[in-house]
Symmetry: C2
Amino acid sequence: MDIWEGIRTKHSIRAFAQTPIAEGEARQILDAGRRAPSGFNAQPWYFIAVRDRAMLHELSTIGRSTRHVAGAALCVLILSPDRETNFWRNLFDAGQAATYLMLAAHELGIASCPGTVYEPVRARDLLGFPDDWKPYILISFGYPDPADPRLGTGKGGRKPFEEVVRWEKW
Amino acid sequence: MDIWEGIRTKHSIRAFAQTPIAEGEARQILDAGRRAPSGFNAQPWYFIAVRDRAMLHELSTIGRSTRHVAGAALCVLILSPDRETNFWRNLFDAGQAATYLMLAAHELGIASCPGTVYEPVRARDLLGFPDDWKPYILISFGYPDPADPRLGTGKGGRKPFEEVVRWEKW
């Protein structure tokens, strides 16, 4: 799948088939995240990859829009060793890593959906990362559920080009 | 170019050829950014696309690592209508848009390099966006300078997979 096609056709999907994600494909998705760009090449992201069904159920409750995690075949938590001064940069870089993870999955036919972590302490209790590490986001991965009525509808849409882009000046 | 190849081969490049970027290719890069994912599909990003040589020179001085903008064929400023409560999300989403812009360019043979805006007031004076809008980052775009000694060296490198990824728990 070429990049432009990937960019045009990837949409968040929240309903997943029960098909597991093979080890090799999980590794390729994670390796894509590892290769994402970052400010000063700091690579501030770390990934906890969860496939355990009971843990996926627990993680589905740590955000306001993370219910989809319960049905995922794989969930990746992006976190950083957060220092106050790098907060800005780390968050921007977490966004860069997220798209690399999701685009690489899309090329493999694997759908995804991100969800912000609203309960960092609970995430820490569940996953055991150190106190001064900051969890940003969970991303669910799985093969799309073929019975999902929203599949292929391209739900969401985008603002028109002319609204989003200005040439030369505001 | 397939997505995995793009992810493997894109590196930041700071030295650009003098070749201009055609209108159609500039629009495709910007359209890729417009199609990036965002929290709750809020699409909080806006892009100011600059090709004017004098303005590129001015913009090259508004960050600590934005000198490359002076030689770019195109520079895109990502900015958001920043409200305190959305700051987090907007910054993460700006990172998502940045990778879409840069990966789409890479497929067209166009190199890129981001640089954080350290002088938002000066950016505003130059580009005329409203007071309550927040400029996050500049991205330079241009065809790579074939004389760049760093070209093709894959400078940067990444942490090993085993350092970045944990399975199931920390």
